[in-house]
Symmetry: C2
Subunit: 418 residues, 2 copies
């Protein structure tokens, strides 16, 4: 059966017009109803998910993919997150920049929902619930497009979510799912500019590229992090070792994990072997420049870096290591290879800190901390819809406020322009 | 000679990396140098412009186009604007949202330049100077693409601007011009996503459409205003007549001029003839619904509105008039036909004001004022690069702050994520 994407868009737009003027209490009631309904329908949701998992295993999906797909034991955490979103402050309706102009015109801005979001994602069905909750909280309708491998899980979740929203007196069309894995619906969604205001891709480089190429709707690209740490000769080396270990090893499969370590030459002879020794114990292998290779001749797990390696997001227990003469060379390397996600310096030199913070133009720039903190929850946003690495609208972790826009409100006493 | 757009992009990116860390004083000095240089080179600039004007006349451009093209008598105003931009506060470097997280991590945001802007515009060569000044003030490099009919003027202006920037010790490549009218360079610019961070089209619907379709870079669309005023039965009708006259007649060729007047039925018999009488004296003609036509049977300058007329931006002395039963019908008409630029209500009923402000989702929503105030200068921004009618990044008039983004700065004491 063909999906009428125009109709889907119109329904989402109509729902967004009702949603946008709902009081916070009504939106929160719907969120709690969703959490309760997921709890009540656990059995059906987990059965659908088990069918996705079985099909995925039969199709030969990797254990990592199967793990991302699997909801078993995770629903309680998911509904707890929905209840937490209900408790967050509502950014919609907040007024700011209010002033009275010299001619007496009263001008202010009011924070309002964006309208209709299109979210395209891959194998994690928990994203379905997260995104629906964040959209609803901010008065936005959403059209979801999950991966084909999670269609049964997403269908079960969205059915429960829509019923709960309707039961709470809000339009079920606030949350819609493209219930067909055919890729042409992704292309159609990207061109629904009459009805969709913002596209958020959550997936790999290929998906972001596709959205940039095809979309006539503004796209928030991001989530690709080739992250760097530079250790200068003044750094507290024992502490630096911990930070590097954390940035690489704590969760290597995510975008804010460390990809490339840059070490100042004057400390490389002492520090690089220490790094390799510490990280190799946790299974890390290394892609290194010729100088590092010479320094560590004979060490296992060491490969000379190829020309593309400095531009690769490892998402695994691989670390690039390069020795550089100084801060200037480190900055040049980062400017050439960073995706603008998260980059940091480990140093005790205040001048180096200032220069690094000024010259590195990434969404998150760090001094003496692990890159793993680039995360809406870690940075106090209370929630996260995506991490933007483009520069318009929002940069870095995006929370509730980043799902809103504003309108100008201008109140006069029959003012005319002269 | 073929333009190497990749090289243009690389040069702009390199210039932007120098510009972004310049102190305000250095940028202001370059702005004043530009203003002085334009004053000093008036004769050459005006000669180039006169050649454009002559060629335009020979090619049969309309008097309105020729007027927009003509710089004669306007350079002093243009350089005064550049000097005013130098006096505006610099948004770059401002830090905000600073806090210390419970784990001791210090987090703040810092306002930074966007990087490289691509600006595509049509016949007004003053835009060349305006945009160069606003970009420089905010630490952005810019690639300009003006209309073919202004190429001589733009070349003369950009040569003077680049020399002045270099003379002030900043990189001349901060301002680049695509010196070839071939349209393929527009398409190439729209795909220079490795080097350009934001596209601002300034022109008609066709240009905005082209940018949305072709660009792989975020585009700020806007500047198309189908603007509405709704007059309800409680309005001060004498004052309303002035506001409507101002919104339609004061400058009919611009995007914030009134396109469609909606009048509540209960006052239409009295008020619509008064509007027509007042505006017809200034040459306004009318596209009206059947009810208005019946009310004004026999009146000159009255045409029954066709199906596309409610979706037309008139940019001339034409006004659509439609009689509606009530506020709900007025809101429904605006939701169906507004481009989301500027829409207002004329009323003395507080409940109607609140409902209109809540339900109309345009960049600027008015109560008892002319739509002509949607303008960066009028609303106190000090400058304006564009008026956005899309919802991401910025909405309505965009000033200096809207030419910046932010980065997160995170300073720890060797913090690791647990």
């Amino acid at each position: 059966m063909t999906i009428d994407m125009q109709a889907l868009g119109q329904q989402a737009r109509a729902a967004s017009r009702i949603l946008r003027s709902q009081p916070t209490a009504a939106k929160n009631a719907a969120l709690l109803a969703i959490a309760d309904a997921i709890d009540a329908h656990q059995a059906a949701i987990l059965a659908a998910n088990a069918a996705d998992v079985a099909a995925g295993q039969a199709a030969g999906l990797s254990p990592a993919m199967i793990d991302r797909l699997n909801l078993a034991g995770r629903l309680a955490g998911i509904t707890a997150d929905v209840r937490r979103v209900a408790e967050l402050p509502d950014p919609v309706g907040v007024e700011f920049d209010a002033r009275t102009l010299p001619n007496g015109l009263q001008v202010r801005k009011r924070r309002v929902p964006i309208g209709v979001l299109g979210v395209i994602y891959e194998s994690r069905p928990n994203v379905t619930v997260d995104v629906a909750a964040l959209a609803l909280k901010t008065g936005n309708a959403v059209i979801l497009r999950g991966g084909s491998e999670t269609l049964r899980s997403n269908t079960a979740l969205v059915d429960v979510i829509r019923d709960a929203i309707a039961g709470a007196g809000l339009p079920a069309d606030a949350v819609q799912l493209i219930r067909d894995p055919d890729r042409r619906y992704v292309s159609e969604l990207l061109r629904l500019s009459d009805y969709v205001d913002m596209i958020i891709p959550r997936g790999g480089n290929h998906l972001h590229q596709l959205c940039r190429e095809q979309s006539t709707i503004p796209v928030i690209t991001g989530g690709i992090g080739i992250c760097h740490l530079y250790v200068d000769e003044t750094a507290d080396l024992a502490a630096a070792l911990n930070v590097i270990h954390n940035a690489k090893v704590q969760r290597p499969t995510v975008c804010n994990a460390l990809d490339t370590l840059l070490v100042q030459r004057s400390i490389a002879g002492q520090f690089v072997p220490a790094v390799v020794d510490r990280l190799a114990r946790d299974g890390v292998t290394f892609r290194v420049d010729a100088e590092t290779a010479a320094l560590l001749a004979g060490q296992e797990g060491m490969t000379l870096a190829g020309p593309d390696d400095w531009d690769t997001e490892w998402l695994s227990l691989i670390l690039g290591i390069r020795i550089v003469p100084d801060l200037e060379a480190a900055i040049a390397h980062i400017q050439a290879h960073s995706t603008g996600h998260s980059d940091g310096i480990l140093t005790t030199d205040p001048a180096a800190m200032v220069r690094f913070l000024n010259e590195i133009d990434s969404a998150a720039v760090y001094v003496n901390a692990s890159t793993r903190f680039t995360d809406g929850g870690q940075l106090g946003l209370g929630a996260e819809i995506a991490i933007s690495t483009q520069k318009l609208h929002a940069r870095g972790p995006m929370g509730l406020e980043e799902l809103t826009t504003y309108k100008w409100i201008i109140v006069g006493e029959n003012h005319i322009r002269v």
